[in-house]
Structure formats: C-alpha cells, structure tokens
Subunit: 360 residues, 4 copies
C-alpha cells in the first residue's frame, strides 16, 4: 500500500520538499470530531523546534484543510490537509553525488533518476509536517477518550533524561514544552550535546521515549498485527529511526525471567502489573498498563565535514562537503512526529476493535 498506512483509520502522505504543497489525507476518521486548529498549529510549531538548536528552513506551516471538515468538525469523509512550501530556494541543486547515509542513492536506485531530488524531495523530513497536522486532529480527539500520548528525549549522545515516572503528570508537562525533556537538568546537558555537535560541524543521534496511557487491555493481535508490529511499522517510517523497542527492550537480553517478568496485582479492582518491563503489551495485545516504547534516531547525515562518497551517475568515487546550516540533531524535533504517528495507530487499532464511530 506504499504511501497509505492503516486499516480502519488510515493516512496517505504525499509531496516533495520543493513542490507546491505537501499534504496528507486522513481516512476512516469518525464524523463529528472537533477540529482544534490552535492545537494543530501548536503541534506544527513544536515540530519546527527550538530556535537555538534547530536550524530548519523558515516555514510558517500554514495549513489548509481542503476536505473532510465542515463547520469546524470532521465529516467522516477523507480529510486532506495541505501545507504550502513557502521557503523553497530555486537555486542550483546538483544531482549524482550521493550524500552519505542520505537516500540519494537509494532514491536513484528505486526511481531511476526521475525523482524530484531538490531538497531531499519526497524523502525530506519536511513531509512530517503533514503527518503532524493530521495526527494532531487524531491526538486531540484521543484526549477526549482519555488516551494521552507523550514523547521525550531520553538520550542524546552522552546526555540522559530520566524515564517516565508519573505518566499523567509527565505527559501533561511535555504538552507544554518545545524541547521535550522531563528532567530540567537533563535539558541542559542534551542541549549542550547538540550545540557542541553543531559547533564541531557534526551532528548527534539520540533516543526518544514515548508513552501512551488510557488504552484498555485487549487491543492488538497475537500474530503479525501485534500492537508492537503496528506501532513499529508506523514509527520506522519517520526518517532517521533505526530502532524501536518496547518496555525494557534490548535490555531484556541481559535479564533473567525473574527480573523481566512483570508481577501482577489487583489495584482498585483493576489488573495492574507492578513493573512494566513488557511496555504494556503481552502476546501482541495491550494489558491496560502504559504502552512504552523507545525509538533510536541516527545523527542527521548532513554534516559540515568532508566525506567520501560516489557519483552514482558517473560511477566514480567522489568527495563531498555539504554546505549550509543543518539541524545537528533530529531528536529535538521528532517528538511531535512520533506522537502523531502513534496517535494514528492507536486510533486505528481502537477503531478496528470498537468500530468506526469510536473516536467521536
């Protein structure tokens, strides 16, 4: 299905970095959901990031909802959001010399040189703005169903944030931050890592941690469409994500069962687990605890250092030096994108289980 994702609630994404518009179509959304335009704008602003650590192109991200909305509410028909590309530089773009660890060569291999390569084209992180816009509609509606999603920078280079602790308070606090870090001292060290990387004409990777609270037990499938599989499938489409783990994730490889098993207790008439090493999912199905996952982001591949590469048109080795200013870290702008994709997946799995009107 390529650029469409989802079963009951689904999203189609289109656009290129230097095209007229980027956009996304949200389908299967319940009718009657209020569209909170301020919330969309705020989500887009969070994605543009914090000025001192982001050097993204200057976009206002004006969005236009061209279908599926009437009188401020969803109609239940496909809802398309367009975002104009205003800050497009017509200048010269060279083609053929692959930027290492970018999609230049793989794009050429797939599209045979017909791809719109300007500014990364269809591969550009710019497209995530459209995901954030439609995701914000879904995420806002989920809040009315007492489902909340939040993401913070868990790690960036050698700087670490604390993990989620009191989920509702932490998610609530994150909602107000442009630079999403739970521990304010960690905010300083993360910021320092990013600035140091930029000053070294380099970039830095990181890990984001996401929590979803309010999903009842019993959501997901035992095989193939496991909740982990559906979330990971969605999250891996965010540029630069190279790993997804749930609960204790890769650390489970070091653990014994007696450490990794989540003991269970009745709390207020409800089944809870004492720990949450499983990240809220057992056998592919939610257990009613917070769903927790971490996403690993590679460092931005655009760096201001000389690199060895190839010219794939000529079939020759080449050297390259990427000029201009670039985001030194994806992590500080990726949180709203993960939140958006996560919200869409959660709305989808809930609608699969409870029907298409569920979200309204």
């Amino acid at each position: 299905m390529k650029n469409t994702f989802g079963t009951s609630v689904c999203v189609t994404l289109f656009g290129e970095s230097h095209g007229k518009y980027i956009g996304a179509t949200l389908d299967g959304i319940a009718p009657g959901i209020e569209i909170d335009e301020a919330y969309i704008s705020d989500s887009l602003a969070k994605r543009r990031g914090d000025a001192d650590v982001s050097t993204s192109r200057s976009e206002t991200d004006e969005f236009i909802i061209v279908s599926g909305a009437y009188d401020g509410k969803t109609t239940g028909t496909p809802l398309t959001v367009l975002i104009p590309n205003s800050d497009v530089k017509p200048g010269d773009y060279t083609y053929g010399t692959a930027r290492p660890s970018h999609a230049d060569f793989t794009g050429f291999s797939k599209y045979h040189g017909y791809e719109d390569y300007r500014g990364g084209g269809h591969f550009s992180g710019r497209l995530t703005a459209a995901l954030v816009a439609v995701g914000a509609i879904v995420r806002r509606a989920l809040m009315n169903k007492n489902i909340f999603v939040g993401t913070h920078i868990l790690q960036c280079g050698e700087a670490f944030d604390r993990v989620f602790d009191r989920f509702d308070e932490d998610i609530s606090a994150l909602a107000g931050m442009t630079f999403p870090v739970l521990d304010s001292s960690a905010a300083e060290s993360v910021r320092a890592e990013i600035i140091a990387s930029r000053e070294a004409s380099d970039s830095i990777g990181g890990v984001l941690q996401t929590a979803v609270i309010g999903v009842p037990a019993g959501i997901g499938e035992p095989w193939f469409d496991t909740l982990e599989g559906q979330i990971a499938h969605a999250v891996f489409s965010i540029p630069a994500v190279k790993g997804v783990e749930f609960g204790a994730g890769f650390a489970l490889g070091f653990m014994h069962g007696s450490e990794a098993n989540d003991a269970m207790r009745m709390v207020g008439g409800r089944v809870e687990t004492v720990t949450n090493m499983s990240g809220g999912i057992c056998g592919g199905i939610s257990n009613g605890m917070p769903i927790i996952f971490q996403s690993a982001f590679k460092p931005t591949p655009s760096i201001g250092k000389p690199q060895n590469t190839v010219n794939f048109i000529n079939g020759t080795d080449a050297d390259m030096m990427i000029s201009g200013r670039h985001d030194p870290a994806v992590v500080c702008r990726a949180a709203p994108v993960i939140d958006a994709m996560t919200a869409i997946v959660i709305a989808d799995v809930m609608a699969q289980r409870y029907g298409t009107d569920w979200l309204a």
Copy 2:
C-alpha cells in the same frame, strides 16, 4: 488483516497448541518452485533446538502439504502446510491465574474467556513451526536467486558472539548449526548462560542478529512501507521479541554523524558503503549492502520460581509457581523463525517490485 501478512507474497497462520493441527498458508508464491522437503525438515529440526539447552515438548513435526504443490513443485496457488500436534497432554489445565508476562490476561481481555488456553493456545510458540515450514520453501527458493538469510545469537545474558564479518562465509556456516553462534568460544559462554539459568530455575533473554545478502539496491518504500517497517512488523510477531534495530541501531544514539555516516566507494563497478551503520537501508530503501538487524528477546516468562500474580476471573491477587520443564531461553530456538519471517518479507518486497513470477 490480523493473521495474514504480506502484500504480494503473504502468509496466513492458524492453530492452537493443543488443536489437531497447526498450519500456515503461503499465497502469492511463484509457480514452479521446487519443494525441498529435506530442507523443510532440517529447518524444523533447527527450530526444535539442541537437546541440552531446549526442553521443548517432543514433537516430530511431521508436515503435510495439502495444497499448492504438485509433482514436487509449487503450483502458484495457495500452499497450505499442516503440522499435527502429536505430543498433546490431555491433563488438567487451570484457567484464570495469569502467568506473569505471558499472554493469559491479554488473551482473556481480547477473547473474553473463549480462547483455547491449553498450552498457550493460539499464542503458543508452537505455531512458529508452521511459519518455519512455509518460510523454508521461500528461503530455499531465495537461495537460487542468490539471496541468503542467516541469524545467530549475538548476545545472551553476559555472553556475546562476534558480529557478522564475512557475510557469505558466516551465513554458510550458520546453515550447518543447530546452535547458531559464529564464534565457537562464544558458543560455550552462551550455552553456559542458558544452563546456569535453567539450574537457577530461571530463564534468560538475548539478542539475535540477522543478515540478508543479495538484495539489490532500490527495494522498499520511503514512507510507511519502509523496508525497516515491513521487516520489523513481521519480526515483532515472533513471540518474545521486544525490540528490533537496523545496523548500529540504538548505538546510533551515542554517535556523531561523522561516525554514523557510511562513506561510499565504487567497488568493482558497484556502489558500496565502507561501513554499514545503516544496516543496508537508507530512506526506507535497500542500498545493496547486507541488510542487518538485531532482535531483542525477553527471557522465557515461564520460570520455576514463585511469582505474584492475579486471578483475572475472580479479580483477586494470587501466587503461582509454574511447574514442569521449560525452555530457559528462546534465543537458541528462535533463529530459524526469524530466518523464515525474513525470507517471507524479502520474497514479498521483491515480488512487489519485480512481479509475481520473480521467485521462480
């Protein structure tokens, strides 16, 4: 789509641990592929594992191909494999007390108590035998197209194997092993970890590393159906997997771009990368280098120690002690399952790109 996975080549899985048969249907497979029954048997034997570290029930895994094959070759129509459940103990199965970190409570939450809970029912790792059987047909056919898949135990507790080095030789060596470890001294330490866990009535987690060689550049999609997303979606349906990372994965969170970027060079007229931090995938699309990913497995949740839990029928706290012998580690039996799922995904993405007859 629940228990069906794939677009062009797809697999449907069915069965319960204590039903008459488990089985899988492979659809979209090209006609004329030779069915190598010895290879299927050998793959099933590898999944049953090594006697001294596996204590799985005694199954012979006789398989019956009931459709989609004629005269020893695939016909191109759905190919269904059945595997009888021979070693089913009719004995008493209790219901209601959740085994911690098993799917007992999530299964109840989803299926409302109608699930066949005996021996884990539909959640049982037993079903992976059917995946291995159909996956072996696909994997064997991929070899004829010079695509090879191999998986080894990278880590188990504190024991570590070396990473892939010379891919063709390593994959070839793994094909002959029931206990898939690249470094023979590591084999000892991994085995020691598993045996120590068993002797402590405990279990142990681990990480598997998988490589695929021979996939050309240009396979995958930039959004949603990224190669990472499709592989991860498949791998997360294997019981106990809680993390999937590609290339350097979570370690990228510590790296600078100058360390993480894969420099490129022309080698023998072909674009290659000098390092492979990206795991053979950029922008969701293969770059022609080996595809490398790691899968994190949690420790087997069945352990011989007292555990706190609940009875979800009564809504009461409970204590439990799981008796009987259990696999102390999933990792030593999971490699052929990952190989099978990986082979199915690779065949699918290749057939999407090159057409349904491609595999023949």
Copy 3:
C-alpha cells in the same frame, strides 16, 4: 491479497480438486459464537444439490475444524475448516487441450504449466464447499443478530421464478429447500429446463436472486468500498458468475427517474422506501431496506458435444469431446455458495462499522 478476502472478517481459501484437503480459514470472527455443526452439514448438503438435476461427484463433505474453536464455540482466532477430497479418481488426466470456456488455458497462462490440472485443480467448483462451511458459521451467527440471507433461482433458460415478495417468509421458506425456487410451479419449469439440457448433452445458464434483511442503514462507503463493490467483488469469485446487479439493475437502463426513484415514507417511526429499485443501497451505503442483488451464471462449460479448441502446449487446433457426466446447470447448486459469500461480506462490513466483537 489474492486468496484472502475481507477487511475485518476475512477468509482465506486453499486447495485443489484432487488434493488431500480443500480448506478455508476464517479470520476476525468474534469469540464466543456457537458453532452449529448440523447447520454446516445442512449447508454443505444443499451445495451438493438435488440428485435428479445434479451429477456431482459423490462427496460426503465431512468437515474438520482444526483451529479457532474450543468447546463448541469460536475462540476469536483463525478458524480453519478442512474437507477431505474422498472421491478422487486417480485415473488419467490429459493436459494441453483446453476445454472451451474453462480455465485450462488461462490457468496455463498464469501458472506456466505447473498448475495441478486434475479435475480443474484450484479452479474447481469443489473449493466452494470450504466457503460454504465457514460461511455457514457466519450466516448462523448473523441470524442471532436478526440478519438473514436467502437466494433463489430467479431464471434458468426460459423458466422464471417470481421475485422476492415477503422477504422474511420467503427467506424462511428457502432455508428448507434444496432446490431453491419460491414459486412451486416455477420449480417444475426450472427443473424441466435443466433436465432438457442434460438430455441434449448440453448445459444451461441462469440467474440467482439474493436478499439480505436486517442490515441497518449506514453501512458501506461512498467510494471504492461501496456496499455494491464489496458484495460484487466477493460474488464474482464464485465460478461461472459473469454479472452482478443490484435492485432493478440493468433494467434501470430502460427507466426514467420517475420510475426508478424510490419514494420514501415513515413507517412505524422508521424511514422506508415504497419501492426498492435501488436494492437497498444508495451512494454505496445501505438504506435499511432489503439488500437485493442478482447474479448471472454462465452455463456449465462442460458439455457432451464436440467442440473446437486448441492444444496450448503444441500450439495447434484441436477437437474435443468432454465425456462423463456433468452438472447441466450451476444455478441449482450455487445458492448456498452465494449465501456464504454474502454472509461473510455482511459480517465484515458490520464488524468494520461496529467492531470485532459485534457478531458475538
């Protein structure tokens, strides 16, 4: 997706005429549905048809439910039914001379000669037995939700049955018939057409009419997944169907809007239409009236007359005479197959709308 159909409730079909088993896997079925084996057997008996007008091979259609059922109820996991092929004649089957209007040549074109051609192989109407078996489970469950499906022979050659009139009584009457004709005098004329065809070593086509009552208004989609499109997609997979029309169907081509429009009235607090030219569907969505459609079946292509054809292996013209006894008409055995496919589609669209537990 080839041999899997459906979104929320879906079915996978496998098998060949002369294989060990044919079978079908029903996925997405709600847990806790009682499995009425007598109803399944009865549905299979109806499909075997009436002895004097059907000359199908002698099959007992013993069915085995190998997964997805426990204690007489669905578990909610994939439910696979196997039906052994008992009456398989090992004899000689020739290959290469195409039976006109059969799938011999098209099968060869698709499967390159690897198809299991014996007895029609995967194309055989025999496979519909598996659809009837799983469809019977769904159809029986729909009854508990007050949704009823019924099909009768509307036309066969020059013989005509009356159309549906009092839907509940008519559907109820059809439930008791092996030869499904509403007007008993029509039964005679239809039977006479069939017998006359057989005596002339020929075959005869026909039209079946299907009604579904109890589907509420608001089910379906405005584009692509219209209710008509989903039903037609399913019905066209029944061998020999060459046309599907809803309500007045092709007759609407002769009508004016003033004749074709269904006037509306409030009846007992409920919106009803006075006529039902639209077949219960407007804009792709159900209006709460009976859903009515007709399916056109071509005559059985196996006839006892000499025919001109080709040998597609040799690339030469050929003459052929199909010997043996064959069903002179598909229509008298197809009704339960249409009922089964219709039930599956209705369960699917209801589950898409109301969630996966809806049918329970």
Copy 4:
C-alpha cells in the same frame, strides 16, 4: 481501506462538492511516465460532456499536480492532483429532506448529520473529475504499452448503439468523441431519448459498454481477486452504477453451453477464441481476448417532478420538488470515468504481475 483502492497501483480520493478542492492521489505509479497535460484536459472536457445534453455546473476543471511529478514526468512517488471548485453557489442548502434515490438519507445514517451536504458533498459526481484526471495519466501510459480502453453508450432508454466490432478502430474512433456512440444513427436516437427526458422534467438510465485490448493472457486471480471482481469493485464506486456484467453477462442465463462456450483456434500462432461470450476472462483470469463489460446506470435521481419523501431529522413524511437544471442522463458523461477507473485497475493488475516499473 475506504477511499483508497488498489494494491500495487492505487488511488485515494477526497473532496466535497463545495469544498476548496477535490483531489486524488495516485500511488505506486512507475517513475518516468510522461504527463500529457493536454490529454488530461481533454479527458476532463469529455467528462464535462456535450452542452446540449449536459447541464452540469460551469467548471473549467483547472487541475494542479502538486506532487509526484518533476520535469513533466512522474517521479514514482504519490502523485496528487487538485481541482478547485470554482462554481460553488454559496446559497441556501436545506438539510433533512431526503431526495429520493440520492445518498442524503444514507449519508445521514453513516455520518450522523456531520456530512457536508451542500451539493451532494462527498457523494457528488463532481469527485469523478479527480478520478478522470489521475486516470488519464495512467490511460495515456497504457497506450504506450499497447493497451487501449474505450467506452460507449450501448443503450439509453429505448435507443441502442451497436456493440464493439473491430475493437482497435472502434476504440480509436471513441477517443475523438465527446458523445461516445459507435453508430452515428444511434447517436441521434440516444440524444433524442435524453432530450425527451429533460423536456419531460425527467431523467433516463442507460448502459455503457467498455472494451480493453492488449491485456495478455494470465492476468487476474482464480478466487476473490478475479479480474471481474477487481474491475467490478472499481466500477461500482462510480455514482449511479447498479450493475456490471462481463461478456454476454446476464444473457448467459438464457443460453446453453453450446451457445455460450467460446470455441478456440490458433490464429497467427496465438490462442484466440472464435466468440467472446466470456468477455476475455475465464476462471477470473484474462485469456488474451478483448476484455468486455457492461455497466448499468440508473437514471439521474434529480428530476423536476414532485416526489414523496421524508424529512429524516423530523421523522416525518414530506413532499419535495427538486428545482434547477440537472443532467437528464449520467450515461453521456460517465464514459471517461469508467475509462479512468478501468485504466487504474488494469495498471494495478499488470503491476502486480510484472512489477512496479512495468508501466514506465
């Protein structure tokens, strides 16, 4: 999947009659296909129809390709076309009184009153302009692969056109017509039927016949995704279609096998059928002959006569008289829409079989 259709080549449709834009996204299209804007414009002009028998709103159908194209060619990424709604009358739209045989009541039943009801909203035939635009890109590309699609008005009320005879010449002739009728005398009688209906403040139904030439043998699937099922699924989403039949279709119900079977002969080294009662498809798979199907259209439900209906908000009977001018027949404007949907399906099934680059 609702408003997305297709497997390898797929289309997503969005918009409302009175929204800012309608649009469609074409995904899975091969890179490097030339975009012939004049051909798109011409296709849109054909859809606007002939002035003397169409009274559609005055739209110029300016289209904007906002993604997936670069330098006049497809890039292989999702291609979105927007068409502004210029002739939108802000005036008063009443809500609650259902126009008989329109989707007013079914839309309300599905969308609970949140639908944008102005001018038919998302149900409006207006949206077919977007399908025609993207379909024209596909259809034009198919021509380069020697696959041609053409549709004519076979019947309208009591007026009949001749059936396809010399397919290449007929399709070529249709390409130049705005009023697509093969026999010029039939053009007069069809036109007369339409004008008479309009003068009687009424409307008239009709049947369109479509042919596709150049599709090789072996395309389609034996079950579920039969070529008939995939085409019918697509065609039924065109507003007002109530029946689809292939080859002799419903007439087969009157035929004997000896009349309905298509004898086969070798012609120029190629397998051909002497007749084409099967419409080019056997067993769900193409046989290399022209694919022929007929689509039944109901009369336009908007007529200038008093009608009995209901107000579904109040739950009361109501009388209504639809004022304004309306198309008295859909048939004279529907041909390019059928051509567009057919082209998309053919491109999809060919790409499924031969790979995603096939169309380039």
